[in-house]
């Protein structure tokens, strides 16, 4: 049976010279972990929807990537997370924006799709929905990393969001 999976870990001004061998290997290991998670679903004949959700969770847990743990920090020093998922077969979709406590935001997006008749929930309401659904909650500080905190410090100097050449875009 034929299946296929592709992932991205974000874009940015990546100067290969800046990417140390160790960092390069770390990014590739993170991508590989995500691919294996998706492969585990598809190899058993599982759905593409389950596979894309499974593939995103390791990337959200990996502080190297700008999602979940290691996400960019907003001007007020807090982390606001966005996620979306869409099923090409049913055209159903779910999305959340500006959530602050769900460990894996893609699971919140999936819950919006599966458990409501809505597509897009945002802010405090989305946080409350995630809690009500029993999704794993974490203290907002869980998402912070020293690298991201330094980027915010740098950003405050001249208010340009393009701080980290490795991850210039979201």
């Amino acid at each position: 049976k034929h299946w296929s999976l592709a992932i991205h870990g974000g874009a940015g001004v990546i100067d290969r010279g800046d990417l140390t061998r160790a960092k390069d290997a770390a990014y590739r290991a993170g991508l590989a972990e995500a691919l294996k998670a998706g492969q585990a679903v598809l190899d058993k004949g599982g759905s593409s929807l389950d596979a894309v959700e499974a593939a995103l969770k390791p990337l959200e847990d990996n502080p190297l990537f700008n999602a979940g743990k290691g996400a960019a920090i907003a001007a007020d020093g807090k982390t606001y997370l966005d996620a979306a998922i869409m099923d090409g077969g049913t055209m159903k979709a779910g999305a959340v924006a500006s959530i602050t406590r769900t460990k894996n935001p893609i699971m919140a997006a999936r819950a919006v799709m599966d458990k409501t008749r809505h597509v897009f929930l945002a802010g405090e309401g989305a946080d409350a929905f995630s809690l009500q659904q029993g999704l794993e909650q974490v203290d907002p500080s869980y998402f912070h990393t020293p690298e991201r905190e330094q980027m915010l410090v740098d950003w405050k100097k001249d208010h340009t969001a393009m701080i980290n050449p490795t991850h210039m875009y979201g």
């Binding site: 894309v52 907003a74 997370l81 979709a93």
Partner: protein, 133 residues
């Protein structure tokens, strides 16, 4: 931003995207990632797309949906549709990239930026491939 697109053995396509957004974002700013049709979109038979970049331009150009419409309406191949869409985003000033997958499970990526982390695996080539552009 991180994202995934997949085709399963029943031929269904799906897409997902997750992000922390921009460092220093203010006023509740939200980019394209959670907006269906802008940063994330899937439709069986056409495509599945996940994008990352300057969200405002991907929103204004409905980038993810545009890739699928180019396949659906103009019968473009997935790679051409991905490339034409990212060039369209670039023509209005947007930077970034996207990954897409067509009905045959062939992945495509297109970028008008300087870098992107990507990976792919499939039943035909079950060896993990990662690339840093």
């Amino acid at each position: 931003t991180v994202g995934a697109v997949a085709l399963d053995s029943d031929g269904h396509l799906a897409a997902a995207t997750s992000t922390g957004g921009l460092t220093g974002k203010q006023w509740g700013r939200i980019g394209d990632s959670p907006l269906i049709g802008a940063g994330t979109y899937a439709r069986d038979g056409d495509c599945a797309v996940s994008a990352t970049g300057t969200g405002e331009y991907f929103i204004r150009d409905s980038a993810a949906r545009q890739v699928c419409d180019r396949v659906r309406w103009n019968h473009e191949g997935i790679e051409q549709a991905a490339y034409d869409t990212i060039m369209s985003v670039g023509s209005i000033g947007g930077d970034g990239g996207l990954i897409a997958m067509g009905a045959d499970g062939k992945p495509a990526f297109a970028i008008n930026d300087l870098g992107m982390y990507r990976g792919t695996i499939s039943s035909d080539s079950p060896v993990i491939q990662t690339a840093i552009y």
